[in-house]
Assembly symmetry: C2
Homo-oligomer: 313 residues x 2
Amino acid sequence: MPETPHGNGEETKSVTTSATEFKDLSKFVFKRILNVNSKTKFICAEGSLQDQEGSAVLVLEKKALDEQDLQALCTKSSELQKLFINDIFHKYNCYPDPHLNGLNATIIYPATEKLIQKYASQVIHIVEETPALYDSLTLPHILKTQNSLEWVYNILDHKSEQERIVFEDDDEKTGFVLLPDLKWDGVSVETLYLLAIIRRRDIKSLRDLTGEHLPLLKNIYQKGIKTIQDKYKLPKSRLRIYFHYQPSFYHLHIHFTSIQFEAPGTSVERGHLLSSVITNLEAYPFYYRDATLCFTLPEIDPLFAQYKAEGDF
Amino acid sequence: MPETPHGNGEETKSVTTSATEFKDLSKFVFKRILNVNSKTKFICAEGSLQDQEGSAVLVLEKKALDEQDLQALCTKSSELQKLFINDIFHKYNCYPDPHLNGLNATIIYPATEKLIQKYASQVIHIVEETPALYDSLTLPHILKTQNSLEWVYNILDHKSEQERIVFEDDDEKTGFVLLPDLKWDGVSVETLYLLAIIRRRDIKSLRDLTGEHLPLLKNIYQKGIKTIQDKYKLPKSRLRIYFHYQPSFYHLHIHFTSIQFEAPGTSVERGHLLSSVITNLEAYPFYYRDATLCFTLPEIDPLFAQYKAEGDF
């Protein structure tokens, strides 16, 4: 969590302390919307607190509905207001008992400018990376800014998360570790999400792959599928197996998710199916060395400024 | 809308007529969950109506939040129940005035078995279509089951939707029509969605494309981008331009959406970026004739049964 602007321990009288509990939303004074998602029913605003100095952020998101919620809602207290009736279809607005229809609310106070930026919606751009632009812009940027891979090496060396490993092949050339992604609860197959991390330390991303890596890729494909089939009973045809480009860390890894789960980063501008990567490399061993690969960048990313200077934006 | 089982006009006394208006949800008797989406806060159940024969379907979805909603919620009537306070982060359950926090409710009654099936969550599979499987399974299936393309020809011939056309190039080889997708409101650039439909009638899908079609594809890419830049002020770097494979109709068309909009069918198992298609065909003119292409099929699709008979599921 980001540090507060009052890190020196001194507090002025006009600042609500962190421990102040709010009883309702009346104290939040709206200034502007930072982000909205009408699909996930999420909204986030910047504002302030009544009679207080400094900025605050309010985040609201409607709660999901499960079977228990639905059953609890089927009572007289769930008021219906007719919109229209057409043949067998009845459309209503429904206003249930407030305690059966909550939102998740987060108030952040005091909120620094940096934190407000983090909650503000980011303008995203798509760029087309030719092999030449990879060499001149992307690769130097990766080498300069990449985070430590210590946590990856700790997993490979059994120094951490050893108990989380679902499958392991320790061949130095074609070996890998398979473990649940941190975002997965490890139980619900509908949202299944595992990560295969290769043992070799010399492949950064999809861009580095050539025909010589086919034994590695096929090994992960076959043994990953078999492990998930055996352990979670989800067959190959219900798995989305893919790379991210750009990845979030530059040590080659592959995502295994349930095809029914809309995991982050599965869209066409970021995902590359392992089976397509394998057939591409079989037909064209230098496909990824020679390809123009698209990926997205937030406008505030320094790499975007470099791409913008090169291209027609 | 699907037909009712009471299409003969006769109604028995025990069946609520379509015109019966519900005042609340107390009449719905729960039987089983048909579908849940915790991301979009959607749930759908099969059941019946109290003292009535036959099945009913109840669909509930939380409403999205906009700026007006958020401002209206910042009052004393939005009760907060503390979950935890950690430094500057305050987490609460929020229970607003019911009329500021509605759901969309649909009751379908009477509901046929076919309609219940339609609302039930579909098990989805991914299949790998080699060129041989395209010829032996997919193509015969398309030819046998495809819907009429009359509505597409009506647009191309200016017999319908003429006023919706945003741009047109009537070259017989490289021409196309660009118009807003029916799902788009035509206003909000955040959810921008247009469709380019080619004039030629001899290309069914991505699978048919070869190097000889590069002038057509580049023409759509360049003129589509220019039109959207001029008319909607959204530059090329903020557009996702892609094919669906399989498409929903077999007359070649290309989707233009805002990169920020998670439109349906943009995931890696269905989307193919136009810029990648162009660079693939430039480097390998028969890339799509020779490729193994993945796509998804619902388990109930007859084509899935054929793929299942061929492969290892």
